[in-house]
Symmetry: C2
Subunit: 223 residues, 2 copies
DNA sequence: AAATAAAATTAGGTTTGACTAATTTTATTT
DNA sequence: AAATAAAATTAGTCAAACCTAATTTTATTT
């Protein structure tokens, strides 16, 4: 049995695959508009690419069900995500970048492909399980740990948790976290939920209380 | 005084700059045909790009004198070369690639740019002076050691040398060298030059004699 | 100096992946 | 159910970076 010849996708095709993969992690159907927003492209352009990727059998598009990755598309998307997250670990751990600087560089590095590059990098980094934002790194076979999914905002008042991952990886959010001294592994106690607007009063690493928004709490994933 | 906004060149522009830089190291004028051959493109396409790069003031083209990099073009080309050679060191030393596998991957990595990436990589690698093929690595300011230029073929019979660099970095040549147990630092004694075709009878690391072609000798640079 | 060959250039075309503007389809309000 | 709004799609355009084929310029032979 012959394997498809894969992995000679264009940069754009790869970015679309990865975006569709990411949108598929959330709930709801994947529409041209959603993809367009996510990539900062025009929906008309997305429709073109949907056609192209459908012809290549990497996705299936049904008006009702939206866009879905095929088995092949999923396999390929996961490998791009693997490369992205491995490079993020490299940039942070080996080159000393801060966690708010690595995403954009990894966005380019992820497209460099070579039979063994990801696997060698993986080995060099000591086979990390999670990237610097707490996202699981797919193994060469596509398997990976289940992503964290419980948010700080969903916790009940009084309980304590440990930060496992961040959902939003924008500089704005990550720099705000840095200012608050919050990183992966930080212990947070939820003191009180303000019922008016769901603001959260928290204690960071046992320090004095701080108030953060619901949006903030929605973007912190806990163990 | 304002600096030009640089470093947002396309992949193609960067590859042209680097090729022109490389051709400038050799002697003779740089013609559209030479660039075309070097890049595997059609001369007509090269003429297009010569126009584009001229407009951007990265090169100057004179029918008589051929293509020349401007001060700005040279500066930028050298930084691309810097990235290329640093990544080659990384791939060999950190990821364990063989020296005949690294060029093609570096050919892609060199285009990834970020204010501090090259400098951080440089530091991480311990500020290497030479890449795995013996080519000097430009510093952030553009300065670099003088490239090796004396060839094995130019040596006089009887003398001994140490391999400092290879001129040809094709897999074919590098694998041949590996088979002969020749690498950077290998000691070679030139036993005899066959006057008929300039073949070279050499002794590698003091071992028994081997005969190699003039072309071979032209592509080995010595200390 | 002609003739010929080689190199450079022009003209026109293709593909990829964007775009805008117009239209059609689908969903939401009233 | 009609009206309206939103989303999806089509049609046509554009720039980048390549190409081929034809032409012009330059270099080399005879
Ligand atoms: Mn990307
Ligand atoms: Mn990440
Ligand atoms: Mn390159
Ligand atoms: Mn090299």
């Amino acid at each position: 049995m012959y394997n498809r010849i894969v992995d000679m996708y264009t940069l754009s095709e790869e970015n679309y695959l990865k975006t569709i993969y990411r949108l598929a992690q959330a709930d709801g159907k994947i529409t041209p508009t959603a993809i367009a927003e996510s990539l900062g492209n025009n929906p008309a352009s997305v429709v073109d690419m949907i056609r192209k990727l459908s012809e290549k059998q990497l996705i299936e598009y049904d008006k009702k069900k939206g866009v879905k990755l095929t088995a092949q598309g999923l396999k390929d998307a996961v490998l791009i995500v693997r490369r992205h997250r491995l490079w993020e670990v490299f940039l942070l751990e080996k080159l000393g970048y801060h966690w708010d600087e690595i995403h954009d560089i990894a966005e380019e590095l992820e497209h460099i492909n070579n039979d063994t590059l990801a696997d060698r990098l993986d080995k060099f980094l000591g086979f990390p399980e999670y990237d610097p934002h707490g996202d699981p790194i797919p193994k060469a076979n596509g398997k990976m740990a289940k992503p964290y999914s419980v948010t700080l905002a969903a916790m009940k008042a009084g309980s304590t948790c440990e930060v496992a991952a961040v959902r939003d990886t924008s500089s704005a959010f990550l720099q705000y976290l840095a200012k608050l001294n919050i990183g992966i592994g930080t212990k947070i106690q939820l003191i009180e939920k303000i019922s008016f607007d769901n603001s959260l009063v928290i204690s960071i690493n046992g320090k004095e209380h701080t108030t953060v928004s619901q949006k903030f709490g929605d973007n912190i994933l806990i163990e």
